[in-house]
Protein backbone atom coordinates (compact mmCIF):
# COMPACT_ATOMS: atom_id res chain seq x y z
CA UNK A 1 0.00 0.00 0.00
CA UNK A 2 2.81 2.35 0.75
CA UNK A 3 3.98 2.76 -2.82
CA UNK A 4 7.08 4.82 -3.22
CA UNK A 5 6.14 6.64 -6.45
CA UNK A 6 5.48 10.35 -6.11
CA UNK A 7 1.84 11.12 -6.76
CA UNK A 8 1.72 14.90 -6.21
CA UNK A 9 4.67 17.21 -6.31
CA UNK A 10 4.72 20.93 -5.50
CA UNK A 11 7.80 22.90 -6.38
CA UNK A 12 8.00 26.48 -5.19
CA UNK A 13 4.26 26.98 -5.61
CA UNK A 14 3.04 30.53 -5.13
CA UNK A 15 -0.32 32.19 -5.38
CA UNK A 16 -1.25 35.83 -5.26
CA UNK A 17 -4.84 36.98 -5.21
CA UNK A 18 -5.53 40.42 -6.45
CA UNK A 19 -8.61 42.46 -7.03
CA UNK A 20 -9.11 46.17 -7.61
CA UNK A 21 -7.99 47.18 -4.16
CA UNK A 22 -6.07 44.36 -2.53
CA UNK A 23 -3.18 42.11 -3.34
CA UNK A 24 -2.95 39.08 -1.12
CA UNK A 25 0.02 36.79 -1.29
CA UNK A 26 -1.60 33.58 -0.08
CA UNK A 27 1.13 31.01 -0.83
CA UNK A 28 4.81 31.47 -1.37
CA UNK A 29 7.51 28.86 -1.92
CA UNK A 30 5.39 25.86 -1.11
CA UNK A 31 7.28 22.65 -1.94
CA UNK A 32 6.16 19.15 -1.08
CA UNK A 33 6.10 15.62 -2.49
CA UNK A 34 3.23 13.32 -1.71
CA UNK A 35 3.75 9.64 -2.32
CA UNK A 36 1.22 7.28 -3.78
CA UNK A 37 -1.17 5.75 -1.26
CA UNK A 38 -0.13 8.14 1.45
CA UNK A 39 -2.41 10.14 3.74
CA UNK A 40 -1.00 13.63 4.18
CA UNK A 41 -2.68 16.10 6.49
CA UNK A 42 -2.24 19.81 5.98
CA UNK A 43 -2.32 21.80 9.19
CA UNK A 44 -1.86 25.49 9.61
CA UNK A 45 -3.31 28.65 11.02
CA UNK A 46 -6.47 30.06 9.55
CA UNK A 47 -5.94 31.84 6.25
CA UNK A 48 -2.53 30.32 5.58
CA UNK A 49 -3.57 28.96 2.21
CA UNK A 50 -4.57 25.34 2.83
CA UNK A 51 -7.74 25.55 0.82
CA UNK A 52 -5.89 27.40 -1.89
CA UNK A 53 -3.33 24.60 -2.18
CA UNK A 54 -6.13 22.08 -2.51
CA UNK A 55 -8.03 24.14 -5.07
CA UNK A 56 -4.89 24.55 -7.15
CA UNK A 57 -4.34 20.79 -7.32
CA UNK A 58 -8.03 20.31 -8.06
CA UNK A 59 -7.64 22.75 -10.94
CA UNK A 60 -10.24 25.16 -9.58
CA UNK A 61 -7.68 27.88 -9.07
CA UNK A 62 -4.67 28.85 -11.15
CA UNK A 63 -1.24 29.13 -9.65
CA UNK A 64 0.86 32.28 -9.83
CA UNK A 65 4.24 30.60 -9.89
CA UNK A 66 6.10 27.33 -9.37
CA UNK A 67 4.75 23.99 -10.44
CA UNK A 68 2.17 21.45 -9.39
CA UNK A 69 2.33 17.99 -10.88
CA UNK A 70 0.07 15.04 -10.38
CA UNK A 71 1.66 11.81 -11.61
CA UNK A 72 4.28 13.92 -13.32
CA UNK A 73 1.73 15.89 -15.28
CA UNK A 74 1.24 19.59 -14.78
CA UNK A 75 -2.14 20.54 -13.49
CA UNK A 76 -3.97 22.97 -15.75
CA UNK A 77 -7.67 22.47 -15.23
CA UNK A 78 -10.14 20.51 -13.15
CA UNK A 79 -10.45 16.87 -14.00
CA UNK A 80 -11.93 13.65 -12.80
CA UNK A 81 -8.54 12.19 -11.81
CA UNK A 82 -8.59 14.42 -8.73
CA UNK A 83 -11.60 14.06 -6.49
CA UNK A 84 -12.48 16.87 -4.12
CA UNK A 85 -14.52 16.52 -0.93
CA UNK A 86 -15.92 19.76 0.47
CA UNK A 87 -16.45 20.81 4.03
CA UNK A 88 -19.96 22.03 3.18
CA UNK A 89 -20.64 18.73 1.34
CA UNK A 90 -21.79 20.54 -1.83
CA UNK A 91 -24.17 17.80 -2.84
CA UNK A 92 -26.64 18.47 -5.64
CA UNK A 93 -29.87 18.90 -3.66
CA UNK A 94 -32.09 17.85 -6.55
CA UNK A 95 -30.29 14.54 -7.01
CA UNK A 96 -30.79 11.44 -4.92
CA UNK A 97 -27.87 9.79 -3.16
CA UNK A 98 -27.38 7.44 -6.06
CA UNK A 99 -27.70 10.19 -8.64
CA UNK A 100 -25.18 12.33 -6.78
CA UNK A 101 -22.70 9.49 -6.77
CA UNK A 102 -23.32 8.80 -10.45
CA UNK A 103 -22.83 12.42 -11.50
CA UNK A 104 -19.27 11.97 -12.77
CA UNK A 105 -20.17 8.72 -14.47
CA UNK A 106 -23.07 10.37 -16.30
CA UNK A 107 -20.66 12.92 -17.64
CA UNK A 108 -18.38 10.15 -18.82
CA UNK A 109 -21.49 8.73 -20.56
CA UNK A 110 -21.05 5.40 -18.83
CA UNK A 111 -23.93 3.06 -19.71
CA UNK A 112 -26.72 3.00 -17.16
CA UNK A 113 -26.21 -0.57 -15.90
CA UNK A 114 -22.52 -0.09 -15.43
CA UNK A 115 -23.12 3.17 -13.65
CA UNK A 116 -25.57 1.46 -11.40
CA UNK A 117 -23.08 -1.23 -10.58
CA UNK A 118 -20.39 1.27 -9.64
CA UNK A 119 -22.71 3.35 -7.51
CA UNK A 120 -24.10 0.28 -5.76
CA UNK A 121 -20.59 -0.77 -4.79
CA UNK A 122 -19.76 2.68 -3.50
CA UNK A 123 -23.00 2.93 -1.56
CA UNK A 124 -22.04 -0.34 0.05
CA UNK A 125 -18.49 0.88 0.69
CA UNK A 126 -19.48 4.11 2.41
CA UNK A 127 -22.31 2.44 4.29
CA UNK A 128 -25.31 4.14 2.74
CA UNK A 129 -27.27 1.04 1.78
CA UNK A 130 -31.00 1.78 2.06
CA UNK A 131 -30.60 5.48 1.32
CA UNK A 132 -29.98 5.21 -2.41
CA UNK A 133 -33.13 7.13 -3.33
CA UNK A 134 -33.09 9.68 -0.56
CA UNK A 135 -32.41 13.32 -1.35
CA UNK A 136 -29.51 14.98 0.52
CA UNK A 137 -31.92 17.10 2.52
CA UNK A 138 -33.11 13.99 4.33
CA UNK A 139 -29.61 12.95 5.41
CA UNK A 140 -27.58 13.74 8.51
CA UNK A 141 -24.26 15.56 8.18
CA UNK A 142 -22.21 12.39 8.47
CA UNK A 143 -24.30 10.67 5.83
CA UNK A 144 -24.01 13.65 3.53
CA UNK A 145 -20.26 13.50 3.73
CA UNK A 146 -20.36 9.78 2.99
CA UNK A 147 -22.15 10.71 -0.20
CA UNK A 148 -19.52 13.37 -0.87
CA UNK A 149 -16.74 10.82 -0.50
CA UNK A 150 -18.52 8.21 -2.59
CA UNK A 151 -19.20 10.79 -5.28
CA UNK A 152 -15.52 11.72 -5.43
CA UNK A 153 -14.51 8.06 -5.49
CA UNK A 154 -16.91 7.20 -8.29
CA UNK A 155 -14.53 8.59 -10.88
CA UNK A 156 -11.79 6.37 -9.45
CA UNK A 157 -9.46 9.37 -9.03
CA UNK A 158 -5.74 9.01 -8.40
CA UNK A 159 -5.95 11.36 -5.45
CA UNK A 160 -8.62 12.34 -3.00
CA UNK A 161 -8.47 15.95 -1.85
CA UNK A 162 -10.40 16.65 1.33
CA UNK A 163 -10.92 20.15 2.71
CA UNK A 164 -11.94 19.93 6.34
CA UNK A 165 -14.48 17.27 5.37
CA UNK A 166 -15.53 16.54 8.94
CA UNK A 167 -15.26 20.10 10.19
CA UNK A 168 -18.98 20.63 10.58
CA UNK A 169 -19.75 17.30 12.22
CA UNK A 170 -20.26 16.70 15.91
CA UNK A 171 -17.39 15.04 17.80
CA UNK A 172 -18.96 11.57 17.88
CA UNK A 173 -19.75 11.50 14.20
CA UNK A 174 -16.39 12.97 13.43
CA UNK A 175 -14.52 10.15 15.14
CA UNK A 176 -16.70 7.61 13.42
CA UNK A 177 -16.10 9.20 10.05
CA UNK A 178 -12.34 9.21 10.62
CA UNK A 179 -12.43 5.47 11.18
CA UNK A 180 -14.66 5.04 8.19
CA UNK A 181 -12.28 7.05 6.06
CA UNK A 182 -9.38 4.84 7.08
CA UNK A 183 -11.47 1.79 6.23
CA UNK A 184 -12.28 3.19 2.82
CA UNK A 185 -8.68 4.20 2.32
CA UNK A 186 -7.42 0.71 3.08
CA UNK A 187 -10.02 -0.72 0.74
CA UNK A 188 -9.15 1.64 -2.14
CA UNK A 189 -5.54 2.58 -1.54
CA UNK A 190 -6.12 6.17 -2.62
CA UNK A 191 -3.62 8.94 -2.06
CA UNK A 192 -5.30 11.39 0.28
CA UNK A 193 -4.47 15.03 0.91
CA UNK A 194 -6.50 16.04 3.92
CA UNK A 195 -6.86 19.58 5.25
CA UNK A 196 -7.87 19.93 8.86
CA UNK A 197 -7.77 22.29 11.78
CA UNK A 198 -7.79 19.48 14.28
CA UNK A 199 -4.38 18.27 15.43
CA UNK A 200 -6.08 15.24 16.92
CA UNK A 201 -7.64 14.35 13.61
CA UNK A 202 -4.35 14.83 11.78
CA UNK A 203 -2.45 12.61 14.17
CA UNK A 204 -5.17 9.98 13.99
CA UNK A 205 -5.23 9.85 10.19
CA UNK A 206 -1.94 10.94 8.70
CA UNK A 207 1.17 9.17 7.52
CA UNK A 208 2.72 12.61 7.49
CA UNK A 209 1.53 15.94 8.84
CA UNK A 210 2.55 19.05 6.95
CA UNK A 211 2.45 22.13 9.14
CA UNK A 212 2.21 25.33 7.15
CA UNK A 213 3.52 28.74 8.04
CA UNK A 214 1.21 31.68 8.51
CA UNK A 215 0.33 33.58 5.33
CA UNK A 216 1.98 33.54 2.85
CA UNK A 217 1.80 29.78 3.33
CA UNK A 218 4.76 27.50 2.85
CA UNK A 219 5.87 24.25 4.44
CA UNK A 220 7.16 24.88 7.93
CA UNK A 221 7.68 21.38 9.11
CA UNK A 222 6.83 17.83 8.11
CA UNK A 223 6.15 15.33 10.87
CA UNK A 224 6.05 11.64 9.99
CA UNK A 225 3.85 9.45 12.15
CA UNK A 226 4.74 5.81 12.43
CA UNK A 227 2.18 4.79 15.03
CA UNK A 228 0.54 1.63 13.66
CA UNK A 229 -3.13 1.80 12.83
CA UNK A 230 -5.67 1.58 14.38
CA UNK A 231 -4.29 4.35 16.57
CA UNK A 232 -5.29 4.77 20.14
CA UNK A 233 -5.89 8.38 21.03
CA UNK A 234 -5.10 7.71 24.66
CA UNK A 235 -1.76 6.01 24.02
CA UNK A 236 1.35 7.84 25.17
CA UNK A 237 2.79 7.74 21.64
CA UNK A 238 -0.29 9.47 20.29
CA UNK A 239 -0.20 12.11 22.98
CA UNK A 240 3.46 12.86 22.51
CA UNK A 241 3.13 13.24 18.73
CA UNK A 242 0.17 15.50 19.25
CA UNK A 243 2.18 17.63 21.66
CA UNK A 244 4.97 17.89 19.12
CA UNK A 245 2.63 19.03 16.36
CA UNK A 246 0.87 21.46 18.62
CA UNK A 247 4.05 23.19 19.66
CA UNK A 248 5.08 23.69 16.03
CA UNK A 249 1.64 25.03 15.21
CA UNK A 250 1.42 27.37 18.12
CA UNK A 251 4.28 29.51 16.90
CA UNK A 252 2.50 30.05 13.64
CA UNK A 253 -0.80 30.73 15.36
CA UNK A 254 0.88 33.44 17.36
CA UNK A 255 2.16 35.05 14.20
CA UNK A 256 -1.30 35.07 12.74
CA UNK A 257 -2.75 36.45 15.92
CA UNK A 258 -0.16 39.21 16.07
CA UNK A 259 -0.93 40.14 12.49
CA UNK A 260 -4.66 40.17 13.08
CA UNK A 261 -4.24 42.37 16.13
CA UNK A 262 -2.03 44.76 14.21
CA UNK A 263 -4.93 45.08 11.83
CA UNK A 264 -3.39 43.71 8.67
Amino acid sequence: MDGNGVMISFINLSKTFSDDRHIVKAIDGFSLDIRQGEIVCLLGPSGCGKTTVLRIIAGLESKSGGSVKVRDESVSSAGSDRGLVFQEFSLFPWRTVRKNIEFGLEIKMMPVEERHEVSSKLIELVGLAGFENAHPEKLSGGMKQRVGIARALANDPAVLLMDEPFGSLDAQTRNLMQRELLRIWSATGKTILFVTHSVDEAVFLADRIVVMTARPGSVKEIISISIPRPRDRTSSEFISVRGEVLSVLEMEFEKTLARELSGD
Binding site: G59, L60, S80, S90, F92, H135, A154
Partner: protein, 278 residues
Protein backbone atom coordinates in the same frame (compact mmCIF):
# COMPACT_ATOMS: atom_id res chain seq x y z
CA UNK B 1 -50.05 -2.86 9.56
CA UNK B 2 -48.14 0.00 11.12
CA UNK B 3 -47.46 1.54 7.73
CA UNK B 4 -51.16 1.47 7.08
CA UNK B 5 -51.76 3.13 10.40
CA UNK B 6 -49.30 5.92 9.68
CA UNK B 7 -50.88 6.54 6.31
CA UNK B 8 -54.29 6.74 7.92
CA UNK B 9 -53.06 9.04 10.63
CA UNK B 10 -51.35 11.29 8.13
CA UNK B 11 -54.41 11.39 5.95
CA UNK B 12 -56.50 12.20 9.01
CA UNK B 13 -54.25 15.11 9.87
CA UNK B 14 -54.27 16.26 6.27
CA UNK B 15 -58.04 16.03 6.07
CA UNK B 16 -58.41 17.89 9.32
CA UNK B 17 -56.17 20.77 8.23
CA UNK B 18 -57.95 20.82 4.91
CA UNK B 19 -61.31 20.95 6.60
CA UNK B 20 -60.14 23.80 8.80
CA UNK B 21 -58.84 25.67 5.81
CA UNK B 22 -62.05 25.09 3.91
CA UNK B 23 -64.28 26.23 6.77
CA UNK B 24 -62.18 29.36 7.22
CA UNK B 25 -62.49 30.10 3.53
CA UNK B 26 -66.24 29.59 3.59
CA UNK B 27 -66.59 31.85 6.62
CA UNK B 28 -64.53 34.68 5.16
CA UNK B 29 -66.25 34.52 1.78
CA UNK B 30 -69.69 34.44 3.40
CA UNK B 31 -68.88 37.41 5.59
CA UNK B 32 -67.68 39.29 2.54
CA UNK B 33 -70.83 38.50 0.57
CA UNK B 34 -73.03 39.52 3.49
CA UNK B 35 -71.19 42.82 3.92
CA UNK B 36 -71.51 43.43 0.21
CA UNK B 37 -75.22 42.75 0.37
CA UNK B 38 -75.67 45.05 3.34
CA UNK B 39 -73.69 47.78 1.61
CA UNK B 40 -75.80 47.52 -1.55
CA UNK B 41 -78.95 47.52 0.55
CA UNK B 42 -77.88 50.58 2.54
CA UNK B 43 -77.12 52.46 -0.66
CA UNK B 44 -80.68 51.80 -1.77
CA UNK B 45 -82.08 52.80 1.61
CA UNK B 46 -80.32 56.13 1.40
CA UNK B 47 -81.11 56.32 -2.30
CA UNK B 48 -77.59 57.22 -3.26
CA UNK B 49 -76.89 57.39 -6.99
CA UNK B 50 -73.98 55.03 -6.26
CA UNK B 51 -76.57 52.27 -5.95
CA UNK B 52 -76.72 51.94 -9.74
CA UNK B 53 -73.12 50.71 -9.74
CA UNK B 54 -73.33 48.33 -6.80
CA UNK B 55 -75.58 45.40 -7.63
CA UNK B 56 -76.72 42.89 -5.02
CA UNK B 57 -74.53 39.79 -4.84
CA UNK B 58 -77.48 37.57 -5.63
CA UNK B 59 -78.07 39.50 -8.88
CA UNK B 60 -74.42 39.08 -9.80
CA UNK B 61 -74.52 35.34 -9.17
CA UNK B 62 -77.76 35.00 -11.09
CA UNK B 63 -76.36 36.81 -14.08
CA UNK B 64 -73.11 34.82 -13.73
CA UNK B 65 -74.92 31.51 -13.96
CA UNK B 66 -77.22 32.79 -16.67
CA UNK B 67 -74.33 34.07 -18.73
CA UNK B 68 -72.80 30.59 -18.70
CA UNK B 69 -76.05 28.82 -19.47
CA UNK B 70 -77.28 31.30 -22.08
CA UNK B 71 -75.13 34.19 -23.10
CA UNK B 72 -73.50 37.28 -21.65
CA UNK B 73 -76.27 39.91 -21.86
CA UNK B 74 -76.09 41.83 -25.10
CA UNK B 75 -72.93 40.10 -26.23
CA UNK B 76 -74.22 37.11 -28.07
CA UNK B 77 -71.67 34.66 -26.67
CA UNK B 78 -71.81 32.53 -23.57
CA UNK B 79 -69.47 33.26 -20.71
CA UNK B 80 -67.88 29.86 -21.30
CA UNK B 81 -66.82 30.92 -24.79
CA UNK B 82 -65.66 34.29 -23.51
CA UNK B 83 -63.68 32.67 -20.71
CA UNK B 84 -62.13 30.17 -23.07
CA UNK B 85 -61.20 32.95 -25.51
CA UNK B 86 -59.41 34.91 -22.78
CA UNK B 87 -57.88 31.75 -21.38
CA UNK B 88 -56.51 30.86 -24.79
CA UNK B 89 -54.92 34.29 -25.19
CA UNK B 90 -53.38 34.13 -21.74
CA UNK B 91 -52.10 30.60 -22.23
CA UNK B 92 -50.60 31.34 -25.64
CA UNK B 93 -49.09 34.67 -24.61
CA UNK B 94 -47.76 33.23 -21.39
CA UNK B 95 -46.38 30.09 -23.00
CA UNK B 96 -44.59 32.12 -25.63
CA UNK B 97 -43.13 34.32 -22.90
CA UNK B 98 -41.96 31.25 -21.00
CA UNK B 99 -40.48 29.62 -24.08
CA UNK B 100 -38.54 32.77 -24.99
CA UNK B 101 -37.70 34.18 -21.57
CA UNK B 102 -36.42 30.99 -19.94
CA UNK B 103 -33.65 30.17 -22.44
CA UNK B 104 -32.89 33.84 -22.98
CA UNK B 105 -32.55 34.38 -19.24
CA UNK B 106 -30.25 31.37 -18.97
CA UNK B 107 -28.09 32.59 -21.84
CA UNK B 108 -27.97 36.20 -20.71
CA UNK B 109 -26.97 35.28 -17.21
CA UNK B 110 -24.43 32.70 -18.34
CA UNK B 111 -22.66 34.43 -21.20
CA UNK B 112 -21.42 37.91 -20.64
CA UNK B 113 -21.52 38.79 -24.31
CA UNK B 114 -25.17 37.80 -24.66
CA UNK B 115 -25.85 39.87 -21.59
CA UNK B 116 -24.10 42.87 -23.08
CA UNK B 117 -26.18 42.47 -26.23
CA UNK B 118 -29.51 41.93 -24.51
CA UNK B 119 -29.21 44.17 -21.51
CA UNK B 120 -29.63 47.59 -23.19
CA UNK B 121 -32.72 46.43 -25.07
CA UNK B 122 -34.23 44.87 -22.01
CA UNK B 123 -33.49 47.84 -19.80
CA UNK B 124 -35.05 50.05 -22.46
CA UNK B 125 -38.32 48.12 -22.66
CA UNK B 126 -38.65 46.80 -19.14
CA UNK B 127 -39.87 50.03 -17.51
CA UNK B 128 -42.62 50.46 -20.11
CA UNK B 129 -45.80 49.01 -18.65
CA UNK B 130 -47.12 46.24 -20.92
CA UNK B 131 -50.50 47.96 -21.13
CA UNK B 132 -48.80 50.96 -22.73
CA UNK B 133 -48.46 48.78 -25.82
CA UNK B 134 -52.17 48.22 -26.09
CA UNK B 135 -52.90 50.93 -28.65
CA UNK B 136 -49.96 49.88 -30.80
CA UNK B 137 -50.44 46.14 -30.60
CA UNK B 138 -54.20 46.16 -31.01
CA UNK B 139 -53.98 48.17 -34.18
CA UNK B 140 -50.83 46.52 -35.46
CA UNK B 141 -51.56 42.91 -34.59
CA UNK B 142 -55.33 43.13 -34.46
CA UNK B 143 -57.79 41.07 -32.54
CA UNK B 144 -56.05 37.88 -31.60
CA UNK B 145 -52.33 38.51 -31.56
CA UNK B 146 -52.71 42.00 -30.10
CA UNK B 147 -53.88 40.83 -26.67
CA UNK B 148 -51.57 37.82 -26.88
CA UNK B 149 -48.61 40.15 -27.46
CA UNK B 150 -49.56 42.24 -24.44
CA UNK B 151 -49.84 39.16 -22.25
CA UNK B 152 -46.50 38.04 -23.65
CA UNK B 153 -44.83 41.27 -22.61
CA UNK B 154 -46.47 41.15 -19.21
CA UNK B 155 -45.22 37.67 -18.44
CA UNK B 156 -41.88 37.99 -20.22
CA UNK B 157 -39.95 40.25 -17.87
CA UNK B 158 -40.79 38.60 -14.54
CA UNK B 159 -39.75 35.24 -15.97
CA UNK B 160 -36.61 36.60 -17.60
CA UNK B 161 -35.44 38.54 -14.57
CA UNK B 162 -36.15 35.73 -12.14
CA UNK B 163 -34.32 33.21 -14.30
CA UNK B 164 -31.35 35.56 -14.64
CA UNK B 165 -31.36 36.10 -10.92
CA UNK B 166 -31.57 32.35 -10.38
CA UNK B 167 -28.58 31.67 -12.62
CA UNK B 168 -26.53 34.28 -10.82
CA UNK B 169 -27.52 32.73 -7.52
CA UNK B 170 -26.24 29.30 -8.53
CA UNK B 171 -24.10 27.98 -5.71
CA UNK B 172 -20.47 28.36 -6.81
CA UNK B 173 -19.37 25.36 -4.77
CA UNK B 174 -21.83 23.19 -6.71
CA UNK B 175 -20.18 24.37 -9.90
CA UNK B 176 -16.77 23.62 -8.39
CA UNK B 177 -17.99 20.21 -7.33
CA UNK B 178 -19.21 19.51 -10.85
CA UNK B 179 -15.89 20.64 -12.30
CA UNK B 180 -13.89 18.29 -10.11
CA UNK B 181 -16.20 15.51 -11.21
CA UNK B 182 -15.17 16.15 -14.80
CA UNK B 183 -18.06 18.34 -15.95
CA UNK B 184 -17.52 20.50 -19.01
CA UNK B 185 -19.21 23.86 -19.45
CA UNK B 186 -22.20 22.35 -21.14
CA UNK B 187 -22.61 19.75 -18.37
CA UNK B 188 -22.42 22.46 -15.74
CA UNK B 189 -25.05 24.41 -17.62
CA UNK B 190 -27.50 21.55 -18.05
CA UNK B 191 -26.83 19.61 -14.87
CA UNK B 192 -26.14 22.36 -12.35
CA UNK B 193 -27.25 25.78 -13.52
CA UNK B 194 -30.62 24.82 -14.99
CA UNK B 195 -31.80 22.66 -12.07
CA UNK B 196 -30.73 25.20 -9.48
CA UNK B 197 -32.62 27.90 -11.40
CA UNK B 198 -35.88 25.95 -11.21
CA UNK B 199 -37.25 27.55 -8.02
CA UNK B 200 -36.56 31.02 -9.41
CA UNK B 201 -38.20 30.06 -12.67
CA UNK B 202 -41.29 29.00 -10.76
CA UNK B 203 -41.37 32.32 -8.93
CA UNK B 204 -41.18 34.07 -12.30
CA UNK B 205 -43.93 31.83 -13.64
CA UNK B 206 -46.27 32.63 -10.77
CA UNK B 207 -45.68 36.35 -10.92
CA UNK B 208 -45.93 36.26 -14.72
CA UNK B 209 -49.25 34.44 -14.60
CA UNK B 210 -50.73 37.01 -12.27
CA UNK B 211 -49.60 39.82 -14.53
CA UNK B 212 -50.93 37.98 -17.57
CA UNK B 213 -54.44 38.11 -16.19
CA UNK B 214 -54.10 41.78 -15.37
CA UNK B 215 -52.89 42.37 -18.91
CA UNK B 216 -55.68 40.43 -20.57
CA UNK B 217 -58.33 42.60 -18.96
CA UNK B 218 -56.59 45.73 -20.20
CA UNK B 219 -55.77 44.19 -23.58
CA UNK B 220 -59.38 43.32 -24.22
CA UNK B 221 -60.44 46.88 -23.56
CA UNK B 222 -60.75 47.32 -27.29
CA UNK B 223 -62.97 44.79 -29.04
CA UNK B 224 -61.50 41.37 -29.64
CA UNK B 225 -62.43 38.64 -32.05
CA UNK B 226 -64.24 35.74 -30.45
CA UNK B 227 -65.08 37.75 -27.35
CA UNK B 228 -63.25 37.66 -24.08
CA UNK B 229 -64.11 38.15 -20.45
CA UNK B 230 -62.01 41.30 -20.34
CA UNK B 231 -63.93 42.71 -23.26
CA UNK B 232 -67.28 41.70 -21.78
CA UNK B 233 -66.19 43.48 -18.61
CA UNK B 234 -65.46 46.73 -20.43
CA UNK B 235 -68.50 46.66 -22.69
CA UNK B 236 -70.92 45.78 -19.91
CA UNK B 237 -69.66 48.68 -17.82
CA UNK B 238 -68.83 51.35 -20.36
CA UNK B 239 -71.45 50.68 -22.98
CA UNK B 240 -74.33 48.88 -21.31
CA UNK B 241 -73.95 50.12 -17.72
CA UNK B 242 -74.81 46.61 -16.63
CA UNK B 243 -72.63 46.46 -13.56
CA UNK B 244 -74.03 43.11 -12.43
CA UNK B 245 -72.46 41.69 -15.61
CA UNK B 246 -69.24 43.60 -14.95
CA UNK B 247 -68.94 42.08 -11.50
CA UNK B 248 -69.73 38.65 -12.89
CA UNK B 249 -66.86 39.09 -15.38
CA UNK B 250 -64.56 40.11 -12.56
CA UNK B 251 -65.44 36.94 -10.70
CA UNK B 252 -64.71 34.84 -13.78
CA UNK B 253 -61.33 36.52 -14.32
CA UNK B 254 -60.49 36.07 -10.67
CA UNK B 255 -61.42 32.41 -10.73
CA UNK B 256 -59.35 31.75 -13.84
CA UNK B 257 -56.40 33.53 -12.29
CA UNK B 258 -56.75 31.45 -9.14
CA UNK B 259 -57.01 28.33 -11.26
CA UNK B 260 -53.83 28.99 -13.20
CA UNK B 261 -51.79 30.12 -10.21
CA UNK B 262 -53.05 27.12 -8.29
CA UNK B 263 -51.95 24.93 -11.16
CA UNK B 264 -48.54 26.60 -11.14
CA UNK B 265 -48.28 26.01 -7.42
CA UNK B 266 -49.08 22.34 -7.93
CA UNK B 267 -46.42 22.11 -10.60
CA UNK B 268 -44.01 23.87 -8.29
CA UNK B 269 -44.74 21.48 -5.44
CA UNK B 270 -44.34 18.52 -7.77
CA UNK B 271 -41.12 19.93 -9.08
CA UNK B 272 -39.73 20.53 -5.62
CA UNK B 273 -40.70 17.08 -4.47
CA UNK B 274 -39.17 15.63 -7.57
CA UNK B 275 -36.02 17.63 -6.99
CA UNK B 276 -35.98 16.77 -3.30
CA UNK B 277 -36.35 20.37 -2.21
CA UNK B 278 -39.56 20.33 -0.24
Amino acid sequence: MSAQYTVLKRFGRFAKSRRLQLSAAIISVSVFVILWHVFAWLLRCWDWSLQEYVPFPVDVFTVLVDSFVNEVPGMDLSMGVMAFASFKRVVIGFTLALVVAFPLGLLMASFRFVNYLGDPIIEMFRPIPPVAWIPVFLVMLSFFWGPVAIVFLGAFFPILLNVMFGVKRTDQTLIDAAKTLGARRIDIFTKVVIPSTAPYLMTGVKVGLGISWMCIVAAEMLPVLGGGVGNALWVSAMEFSRFDVTFACMIVIGLMSILTTGLAEQVERRLYRWMGME
